[in-house]
Amino acid sequence: MTTLTRQDINFGQVVADILCEFLEVAIHLILYVREVYPSGIFQKRKKYNVPVQMSCHPELNQYIQDTLHCVKPLIEKNDAEKVVVVIMDKEHHPVERFVFEISQPTLLSISSDTLLSHVEQLLRAFILKISVCDAVLNSNPPGCSFTVLVHTRDAATRNMEKVQVIKDFPWIVADEQEVHMQEPRLIPLKTMTSDIVKMQLYVEERAQKT
């Protein structure tokens, strides 16, 4: 029943670890459910005690891991406001955006033994919701690709550009074309509130996907 605060060592890292692991699983699942890649490359694995689909393709996995590795320091410092998985069509216009809005309370204090299992339960619900999201979304045109955008608070990205967290994996400011979507429809999927993090997931979908 300890009360940890943000000053405690590694606490920010713990939260960032949890979130990055969750984001990795969520991204894989989004790629599977939205059929961005053929389902043959996916394989069932276990996370949070439930089966999830993860890809086996090494380069794809490496790309996702590198992406999240760079995002982690932003989450640790609570600089990341939104992590967005954008699915784009052949002309690189976004057709769908899965937005994870993350916010962490500034004064964190944990006072519960069951906190982590509670968080696990909430994350499990997110996974479940992503699995059934294609009921509410139109199907995508073929030949889509994806990318990950991070919206940060203030000017945190300045540091990122200065310090390459991973060699040869630079982050650049996103193009207007990738960020802006025409006629978006908003579909909320799930929210969660816990002691350590608040997260919201919604989907912005282009009205006409051709």
Binding site: R45, K46, P51, V132
Partner: protein, 463 residues
């Protein structure tokens, strides 16, 4: 029954976009599972007639299946579009019912499991309340009997029948060394031919499209199940057995294994849903080992997130539709509050106690338990001071907790220490020990030396 349930289901399916399985419905509405199945069926019927929303359903089919002359009992969860196909392939259909209703077309069966997971976890003790399976002679054992069971050595079992049982509902729980043997003992009557049959059957099912949410249970499930009901009369209707299998299977949450999975020695039961364990175990006259597995299983299920994070392991692929539960070995320290047998929990994971290694304290050993555990051991490191005497000097002593894996069966080590040597009980807290040593520094150097020598011998003996 009133028609309110139709609105309820409608709300869940359409407004909340949930997957409504019959088990979840029965737990949520507090009705018997058979009623829930009928509710789902009526709802589906109703909606289809209205032809309003686009609904998808999955069905559970169980029956006899003949594969190359080998008969087996197959239970599958199938999507609606494959239903007729699967039904045609079965030689005898024992039961078909609606498994779930949802708006989205599911690409794989994973979510079906997730849906039930939380509902069952919350109602762990009572999740079998609405179940159709029961065994009146199965009573939960008293804690005393359980500890006795734990200490009893597991019965040896023939190796051949191992592959088949992993898919079994109740017994296929935690993968630690002892429980599998105990469970194996239950299948002592199984013939090897059935196993091969299972393997063949599983391989064949491999050809089924990977996307289809269909899974099959190992063959001849009827046999081990009837072993469980050993005390039941032969008149126990077959249907009940199969229903149980069906229910047990469906409570597994429709694990789909499109790829093959590797048979292993260990009992694999990935994500063993508690209802399966509680339902079947509590209702059978089973060996206590199984019960222990169940407890361990439930314990590990509510493990901390760190453990589950590290468990992102690939299920090994061989053509087997089996549920695996990779378990780290040293998970015994968790004391889970909702474990139904708290006393047993304590037996299994004694609280870590500080213990000074070098001073010859006899380690208390639990009676006869031979279980590997991890414990934190307060180790003192002795340094030679200037006089080259084996004296523990306050300033030179470092105490640290080290996690040590030890086995209770280290009787030889303890025998090495002379018996009447330890005036200080093992659980003495560290500071007072320090003081004692300080005062005894010179005066009892010899005594210490004597005891140290014994302990040193013991140390070498321990290796």
């Amino acid at each position: 029954m009133d028609e309110l349930y139709l609105d309820n289901i409608d709300e869940y399916v359409n407004d909340h976009n949930k997957i409504v399985t019959y088990k979840w419905l029965s737990l949520t509405l507090g009705v018997h599972v058979n009623t829930a199945k009928q509710m789902l069926f009526h709802y589906l019927d109703h909606k289809r007639k209205e032809s309003s929303a686009q609904l998808h359903a999955t069905y559970l089919v169980s029956g006899k299946f003949v594969n190359k002359g080998q008969a087996s009992h197959k239970v599958s969860v199938v999507r609606e579009d494959k239903l007729e196909d699967v039904k045609a392939k079965m030689s005898l259909i024992v039961s078909v019912h609606v498994y779930s209703v949802q708006k989205a077309l599911l690409k794989d069966s994973g979510p079906l499991y997730s849906v039930d997971y939380d509902a069952v976890k919350d109602n762990f003790q009572t999740c079998s309340k609405y179940s159709a399976i029961s065994c009146s002679s199965a009573q939960p054992t008293s804690p005393l009997e359980q500890t006795r069971e734990i200490q009893r050595a597991p019965t040896p079992e023939p190796v051949a029948k191992r592959p088949g049982q992993n898919g079994e509902a109740a017994p296929a729980s935690k993968a630690s060394t002892k429980p599998p043997k105990g469970i194996m003992g239950m299948f002592a009557n199984k013939t090897t031919s059935k196993n091969q049959d299972k393997e063949v059957k599983s391989e064949e099912k491999e050809e089924a499209p990977a996307v289809v949410a269909s899974k099959s249970k190992p063959a001849a499930k009827a046999n081990p199940m009837s072993n469980f009901f050993g005390s039941q009369t032969a008149k126990k209707p077959d249907k009940a057995v199969k229903d149980e299998e069906a229910a047990a299977q469906s409570t597994c949450g429709a694990e789909l294994r499109p790829q093959s999975s590797q048979p292993e020695e260990k009992q694999k039961a990935a994500a063993q849903s508690p209802p399966k364990d509680v339902k079947i175990d509590a209702k059978k006259d089973v060996k206590k080992d199984t019960k222990k597995d169940v407890k361990k299983d439930s314990r590990s299920k509510t493990k901390r997130i760190e453990d589950s994070d590290s468990e992102e392991e690939k299920m090994e692929k061989k053509k087997r539709r089996r549920i695996k539960k990779p378990e780290p070995d040293s998970s015994d320290e968790d004391v889970i509050p909702d474990s139904p047998q708290p006393m047993e929990t304590e037996e299994m994971s004694p609280p870590p106690k500080p213990e000074v290694e070098a001073v010859s304290h006899s380690r208390p050993s639990l009676p006869g338990t031979k279980i590997r555990k991890r414990r934190r051991v307060l180790k003192s490191q002795i340094f030679l001071d200037d006089e080259d005497a084996w004296v523990r000097h306050q300033s030179m002593t470092e105490k640290g907790y080290e996690s040590e894996s030890y086995s209770e069966a280290e009787d030889d080590f303890q025998a090495g220490k002379p018996p009447g040597k330890n005036p200080v009980p093992a659980k003495l807290p560290a500071p007072s020990r320090e003081d004692q040593k300080k005062s005894q520094k010179k005066a009892s150097a010899n005594a210490n030396k004597g005891s140290k020598q014994a302990s040193i011998m013991g140390f070498f003996q321990k290796k």
